[in-house]
């Protein structure tokens, strides 16, 4: 709720102060630029819902981007075939995370911190640190620049992924299990839920969608570099947490995550439209995003504290209510 109000406030503020903020071109621009982080946030959400975290998605995006570029440019694969292979690689990489987390029972933070370095390192090894791949057919680049039925092409991909994940989280036993695992992994195990399989699914899905984001990013910036997606994992986590998903797992919603993504995307873009601060808008948006995150979390804790205090006044007697009075 607060986040939605904040988003509206952003729109009002930036349309008043920003140059051309409300122009269709700029709105399209916002959508195009936020698709990749939005995709990562969408798959980060179920992972965080299980009480886990995936720090490797940004690095995996970089690795998948250069793999895709190399396959198209050096191996002469068609973009479609290369994309299929890239998605497969993403899934395998996610599966590698999942394997370490579910079989060896290592903490997700440590596992994905490891693969965060590993995937980026592999990407740099492929490019030898210098190569960029930029020979892509126009038909492929349309994914990053064309519109379809009035919306940027990649927005349709985003909507499809968002829809699938919303359904998974809110309308299927997958979401139910993720939440149960987030609240109590042992409790979920004792309830006979397939804890390992459900966890693995979340991490594999994160890998596949990170690969998808890599392809979309490549199409948008028309080149694939080893440093693609640097820092995206943190922005994705920020969007998820800002969107009301508990970092401890168990509670959260996909629509909240979408609002979180929108709030960050609009903030970043809007600041770059205000003439007086244009030069430092990147830095400023970082500062403001951080401040927003902390304010949202602190506000949440404060509200909870207040409502609990109110509830305690009213219901602290409830446990003492005679059960068979």
């Amino acid at each position: 709720m607060i986040l939605a109000a904040f988003l509206v406030a952003e729109f009002i503020l930036f349309s008043a102060t920003g140059r051309n903020f409300l122009q269709p071109d700029n709105l399209t621009n916002i959508v195009r630029h936020s698709t990749e982080i939005g995709l990562l946030a969408l798959v980060m959400m179920p992972v965080i819902l299980t009480g886990g975290i995936d720090l490797s998605v940004g690095s995996l995006l970089g690795l998948c981007a250069v793999l895709f570029g190399k396959m198209v440019q050096d191996a002469g694969l068609s973009p479609g075939a290369a994309a299929a292979v890239t998605l497969l690689v993403g899934g395998i990489a996610g599966g590698f995370n999942a394997l370490l987390i579910t079989r060896l029972r290592l903490p997700p933070l440590i596992v994905t911190l490891g693969t965060f370095s590993l995937f980026r390192g592999l990407a740099e090894a492929i490019t030898k640190g210098t190569a960029t791949y930029s020979k892509f057919p126009d038909s492929f680049l349309a994914l990053g620049s064309a519109t379809f039925l009035g919306l940027p092409t990649q927005a349709w991909v985003f909507v499809a992924v968002a829809g699938v994940i919303w359904i998974l989280v809110h309308r299927t036993t997958f979401g139910r299990s993720w939440r149960a695992i987030g609240f109590s992994p042992e409790g979920a195990r004792y309830a006979g839920l397939p804890v390992e399989r459900r966890l693995a699914f979340a991490y594999v899905m994160a890998g596949v969608v990170a690969a998808l984001a890599a392809i979309i990013l490549t199409a948008r910036v028309t080149q694939a570099r080893a440093d693609a997606g640097t820092g995206y994992e943190l922005l994705a986590i920020t969007a998820v947490v800002l969107g009301g998903t508990s970092i401890f797992g168990g509670t959260g919603s996909v629509h909240g995550t979408l609002l979180g993504v929108a709030a960050i995307a609009v903030l970043t873009n809007g600041l770059s439209r205000i003439p007086s601060i244009m030069g430092v808008s990147r830095e400023l948006s970082g500062v403001l995003t951080g401040a927003l995150l902390i304010a949202a979390l602190a506000g949440g804790v404060l509200m909870k504290f207040l409502s609990e205090r109110r509830a305690r006044r009213q219901t602290s007697a409830t446990p003492s209510t005679p059960s068979n009075a």
Binding site: R171, T172, F183, G187, A191, G250, T251
Partner: protein
Amino acid sequence: MTPLLQLVSVTKSFGAVRALKGVSFDLKAGEVHALLGENGAGKSTLIKVITGAHRPDAGTMAIAGNAIENLTPTAAQRLGIACIHQQPTLFPDLTVAENIALRLGTTRSFARVNWPANRARTAELLGRIGAAIEPDAEVRSLSMPGQQLVEIACALGAGARIVIMDEPTASLTQKEQHLLFGVVRDLKARGVGVIYISHRLEEIFALADRVTVLRDGESIGTREVHQPSGSGALAGASPSGASPVDAPSGEAPEGQSDRRGACPTIDLTEAELIRLMVGREVAAIYPPSESDPGDVVLSIHNLGCSAGGVKNVTLDIRAGEIVGLAGLVGAGRTELARVLFGLTPADAGQIRLHGQSITVCSPQEAVAHGIAYVPEDRRRHGIILEMPVAENLTMAIHRRLFPGSWLKLKAERHLALDLIRDLGVKAYGPEAPGGSLSGGNQQKVSVARWLATKPKLLILDEPTQGVDVGAKSEIHRIIRRLAKDGLAVLMISSDLPEVLGMSDRIAVMRGGTVVATLPGGTSAHEVMATALGQSAPEAAA
């Protein structure tokens, strides 16, 4: 003689709910005064008033004749009131000495800590209560009773005159209970007044001088407890054949000496206490067995699991039969259940279900085979506290209820309402979070979740631990009904009267294996002796 602690007409309301309606209570020095009542009777509120956590609305409180007003927890501590909680509140990563130093030490910042003195003091305090605990041991490494002993040592160190014990034996083995009882008697001998809360009536008969029963925020009555001279007197009072008389006899070893002679008057019986507590006559403590055991449902042969410390277990359970699994904590009972439920899969032996040889490598496989396990630790394993009752209830039947993984919220709600009604779960609705329910109702949810799977074998691990008397007998009735309907039940319990009262047969475990299977009418004495691995006379000596 001025009582050590005296409360007169204490009332306390929370909003519209009157938790205490004029309760009077007194505690003498050197007395064990038991406080009894169902969950929600007002015990916790009363304790919180005494420890300064709640301020009473009306009524007076005096310590050693001095009126006390505006008591705060800190002031209560200074006045020598200590509370030992069911779950010890120590820092698990610190050592015993560090914990005690934290409780008793100076609160000045940057003060130098004199570790040798702290250690010596810790050793001295632990020695006083006869606890064999190393001051340098990490609290994490201590057993639950060990941690409770550390709490008691803290209370002693703080010079407590009034010690409140809230269900101290809930997680103790028989042997540890004896140790704790010894400590309580020792405190008593030192002139400390002990307020003792427990759901286990036999403990109250073994330990208390007086007992006050609370019901619905009122004090129903205070009775003198004349500690029984033998188990025979109580057996007469208890109508069920398998009478819960083991406690006094189990108590015999060190109880004999400080029993005030053979007191012939038994003016208080278990049945009367229960009547006082629930406000109605409880005809029989345990419902009689009505089952007629059918075919063998589960047959295990030489089952073993080295990781779980279970070996060579051979056992049959028939349809409609309740097999009690007795034994000391650490005998491998829960471990056996974990093997059968696939949490720690077996690495030796055979499991046959209705004659079919099966393997159980995960809880999912166990569920698929129709094996259900209601775990011991309901707050951590039995239910998920943060999730609604309905979601908890359907958690084990996702596949059946939600084909193709699609949630069917209406169907779920209907099923949940049925189960809630069926088992008499008291919750404000299927959407109530599991954690908002009382212990007994949480346990019913945990059982109901598994009944929903329509199991062939139901394993219950300490099904009534920490639930109040009313809920306890309801759970017993539910178990009986399930057995009557042909379910095979394996019931693990450390509550020996419960095992004796409920079981058609009793399997006794020791050292990771089933050492004997005894018929239903076996005496408490024999079960205990088998569990201890002693010949019968030794167990009592």
